[in-house]
Assembly symmetry: C2
Homo-oligomer: 313 residues x 2
């Protein structure tokens, strides 16, 4: 991209009644938004937030503080509007859409859910690939198509959030492979495991990488071997959004692991990303450094649903 | 205060559908708000933001990058709704009230302005006291009465903002005296002076402290010697709000210098304060450390009007 729109935005900012640059990163965001859109003045963003939910076979190894069934419970909660992401999204007028891309539950009777179930959870990555190559491609396509549809419906700013018990394990594995970082540097406590469980989680991730030998040069292979359906869905959303000049707010460690996959597939999409928040998960910082992105907020949060997207409106 | 309401709030937070503590500082703010209010569940905050404007005689010494007349221009801009604070306050539904507590301009014809002019700016602190003891008391009372009135009108969360060309000079002097910090450690570029002007600004602050010998044990004396009317107004607003169990969001270096005065007068008010933002002014960090407060955001901003109050809603 040329910097033409950035300069145009800065010229406007410098004509406003404030000392030049005094709004700091808010000016950076304004420049970025206008550069991405390629339009001045930009319309106010129509915000749409996709929360992708899926289960993870690796929970069989006891890597999470919560049972797998919590994923399905939270999907019900998102649809009722009772989760943190709903509350925070209401504050900023963002629409929340919930996508079942692989939850281990029967949701047929839920009309407000976007039904894109690929399977009832991934397979246990500690024993073999999490999914087939076809399933990985389907997860990416699902996100791409949702981004296309959102654009047609008028959305001009997307958010990528997720829910999936066990998915910090997948995100840590992806980050370790793609950023070539040691597993113990990118693995944290997720929703809150203790010291012994953390050591066990690291051991399981090491094992998953050893067993599957994901090819660090092949992002699709990484998604197949140690990924998750929701991670593929978010990676696709980013790819589909960028193709339509729609910026995407990513929110936390899991959506950042999806960004790692998307950027590895198509480096140019990184300029469409805004990182809402620094997660307390140690792998997040390593993944962001790899992407060259700097988060806007640091509020000691560790929840991915998509809630932190609000601050960027 | 007892911690009763904090525990009550935490019990509620821990029953919500999210991992305990996963909303990080948002949970801290919720606990704090409920503790301050002494009520559960709390009503959603009715937000009122006071932007106090005043001029500073020390601008005669060339301490600012902008001429004094900009203070009056910005008052017009605030009233028209065209300044950064207006835009940011609209996002969060906060009402902005603009108080002339000492601008060097004739505003008689402005109906939407709150007229509390004490004088047309302070005197030049480099030559003698910025104001009389009576004027300092009046500035405090002005803020106290405005907080009382706001409470009666139903406000449940106040914000303290300001406008005053030259007021980083006053804030730096207050911080140096109250926090017993070297002038060069608490003095920054304000709205953007260059190296030579920064050295000159530090020299002027040193001179003001030497000439006036403010008593570091007497906060009113500090306000008299090196303060500003808007700083006294914000200190009064904090005192009046705390007396009514109304929390106050402070925003930037100047309002934090007002908090230094208020807390020195009445230490208990510090538990009513929430700091929106880390300013790039070096004195801000020193003042916040003195107050034991930690800012919520760090977005490289350097504008005080009150705009950063929005994120705390």
């Amino acid at each position: 991209m040329t910097r033409k729109w950035q300069s145009r935005a800065q010229n406007h900012l410098d004509r406003l009644t404030k000392p030049p640059g005094s709004l700091g990163r808010l000016e950076e965001i304004a420049r970025w938004f206008i550069q991405v859109k390629g339009k001045f003045p930009p319309a106010l963003p129509q915000k749409m937030l996709f929360t992708f939910a899926a289960d993870h076979g690796v929970t069989d190894e006891g890597v999470s503080a919560f049972p797998k069934s919590v994923t399905a419970q939270m999907v019900h909660n998102f649809l009722k509007g009772g989760a943190a992401v709903n509350v925070l999204a209401r504050h900023t007028g963002a629409e929340v859409r919930v996508v079942d891309i692989g939850v281990d539950a029967d949701f047929k009777s839920l009309p407000n859910l976007i039904h894109r179930k690929i399977a009832c959870g991934t397979k246990n990555m500690a024993q073999g690939p999490a999914m087939s190559r076809h399933a990985a491609e389907t997860s990416l396509k699902t996100g791409i198509v949702l981004a296309e549809k959102a654009t047609q419906e008028g959305a001009t700013l997307l958010g990528a959030g997720e829910m999936g018990i066990g998915n910090t394990t997948a995100a840590s594995a992806i980050t370790a492979v793609l950023c070539k970082a040691p597993v113990n540097k990118v693995t944290g406590r997720g929703t809150g495991v203790d010291d012994a469980a953390l050591a066990h989680k690291q051991k399981i991730i090491d094992q998953a990488i050893r067993v599957n030998e994901p090819d660090s040069k092949d992002p699709l292979d990484i998604l197949v071997k140690v990924g998750g359906f929701e991670i593929g869905g978010m990676a696709g959303l980013i790819l589909g959004a960028a193709a339509n000049r729609i910026p995407v707010v990513i929110d936390g460690f899991i959506s950042t692991s999806a960004a790692l996959i998307a950027v590895a597939l198509k480096p140019a999409v990184s300029s469409y990303l805004l990182v809402a928040h620094q997660s307390v998960e140690p792998g997040h910082q390593i993944a962001l450094k790899h992407l060259g992105l700097s988060p806007l907020l640091d509020l000691d949060m560790r929840l991915g649903e998509g809630g932190k997207a609000r601050v960027r409106s």
